[in-house]
């Protein structure tokens, strides 16, 4: 699952396509107006819904379309990643990156590397097991 910003990484991924670069197909891209919009609850939900890895990507610092959205996002990621680590979540499954609109090749590399590293880690069974508790709860509370 990839959360990307409209102005840089989404355009960058577009460039990857128009450059006819091949990359791993098991990534689903979701476009956001800005990385500043990507709430940590979205990442939380993504893991709970069974994703094994997440890419979050946006404009390089100082290149934000809205001037400072990515700076705010960076702070939030720093805190969120630390929080995940404190709770014992495998923080390596959430990959953060800056990919600009001109970096089509970097996007391809990023996705390939991420898919490879997540494959090495395998399915995130621990989280999935935890998420199963919701289904069980829903069944017993119908």
């Amino acid at each position: 699952m990839a959360f990307v910003c409209n102005w840089c990484t989404y355009a960058g991924a577009d460039l990857t396509g128009t450059s006819r670069l091949r990359y791993a197909q098991n990534v689903r891209i979701i476009r956001f107006p800005c990385t500043g919009r990507i709430d940590f609850l979205l990442l939380q939900q993504t893991l709970a819904k069974g994703a094994d890895g997440i890419i979050v990507s946006g404009c390089h610092p100082n290149d934000c379309h809205y001037t400072s959205g990515n700076f705010h996002a960076r702070r939030r990621w720093m805190v969120f990643r630390q929080m995940l680590e404190n709770l014992g979540v495998e923080a390596d499954r959430v990959i953060f990156s800056w990919v600009s609109a001109a970096e089509g090749a970097k996007w391809a590399d990023l996705v390939n590397e991420t898919v490879e590293s997540i494959r090495k880690l395998g399915p995130y069974q621990k989280y999935k097991d935890m998420a199963k508790s919701l289904e069980e709860w829903e069944v017993t509370h119908e």
């Binding site: 705010h72 960076r74 702070r75 805190v79 969120f80 508790s133 709860w137 509370h141």
Partner: protein
């Protein structure tokens, strides 16, 4: 303590304030928050080491605010909470009189909030020995062990939201967990719902926790929820060099940024 009672009586008689928020003896050995509106009731006020409630909680609530001007009995952790709430526009300086009390039974009346700022900076807070011990163990653990530790703790959670109720920083009229469309956090107290709730709560308190430990104190299942925030607080100090509740500057951690913030994980 007598000085505190006298001062409270004085403030109420002269009409300077309409309510004094403090502590009184509850049932048994317990201490409970007290709302004194008549001068003759001021004798009920007590203060000792057992007074642990964070009274900053009541300063922005409609029920106390509509009584008029408030005076509050404020041990150090309430002082820090007051500063945070002021930076978040929840408390107005001219509607509050702060009666600072220290464990040494001193009464300090603060003329202005900037005096509070100076005072809390001169008197840093110490974590409890027990909390420090657990935090030390936690940081020595590896990721899997930490996961196990917190999963075991969250298993006990019954989603009573006492941690939210006891925290003065949880000042939202409607909490994210109360939204059901979309429903971010499942309301049931199952593993995922509990985990999501505690992760969200800690994230929403990031850089705002005044380290009073009331959330953990309030927990009926004895989950050390306060340690999530305490630990994150230490990390934030390491990453950004700032602690919440020590300044009146109106920029909270996550609503501000520095171009020079340093991380090591963004590719």
């Amino acid at each position: 303590m007598n000085k505190l009672k006298e001062r409270a009586k004085e403030l109420l008689t002269s009409g300077t304030v309409q309510v004094v928020v403090g502590y009184e003896k509850g049932t048994g050995e317990r201490i409970r928050p007290a709302f004194i509106t008549r001068p003759e009731d001021a004798d009920r006020l007590v203060f000792d080491a057992g007074c642990h409630h964070n009274l900053a909680l009541y300063l922005y609530k409609h029920e106390t605010k509509h009584l008029g001007k408030i005076a509050v009995v404020a041990p150090p952790f309430v002082l820090r909470s007051i500063l945070i709430l002021t930076t978040e526009f929840q408390i107005e300086e001219n509607r509050l009189i702060v009666l600072g009390v220290t464990p040494g039974d001193e009464l300090i009346e603060f003329g202005s909030f900037s005096e509070i700022e100076t005072w809390v900076n001169q008197h840093p807070v110490e974590m409890k020995e027990k909390d420090r011990e657990i935090l030390k163990q936690l940081s020595a653990m590896n990721s899997g062990e930490r996961w196990k530790f917190w999963q075991n703790e969250f298993l006990k959670c019954i989603k009573c939201f006492a941690c939210r109720g006891a925290c003065p920083m949880c000042s939202c009229f409607r909490c994210t967990v109360d939204y059901n469309n979309p429903q971010w956090i499942s309301v049931g107290s199952h593993q995922l719902g509990n985990f999501d709730w505690h992760l969200m709560r800690a994230m929403h308190l990031a850089g705002r926790c005044s380290v009073c430990g009331q959330c953990g104190e309030a927990c009926p299942m004895d989950i050390p929820v306060h340690l999530l925030s305490f630990q994150l607080n230490e990390d934030i100090l390491r990453m950004f060099g700032s602690r919440a509740g020590l300044t009146l500057k109106k920029e909270s951690l996550l609503s501000s940024f520095k171009p020079s913030d340093v991380e090591n994980f963004i590719r």
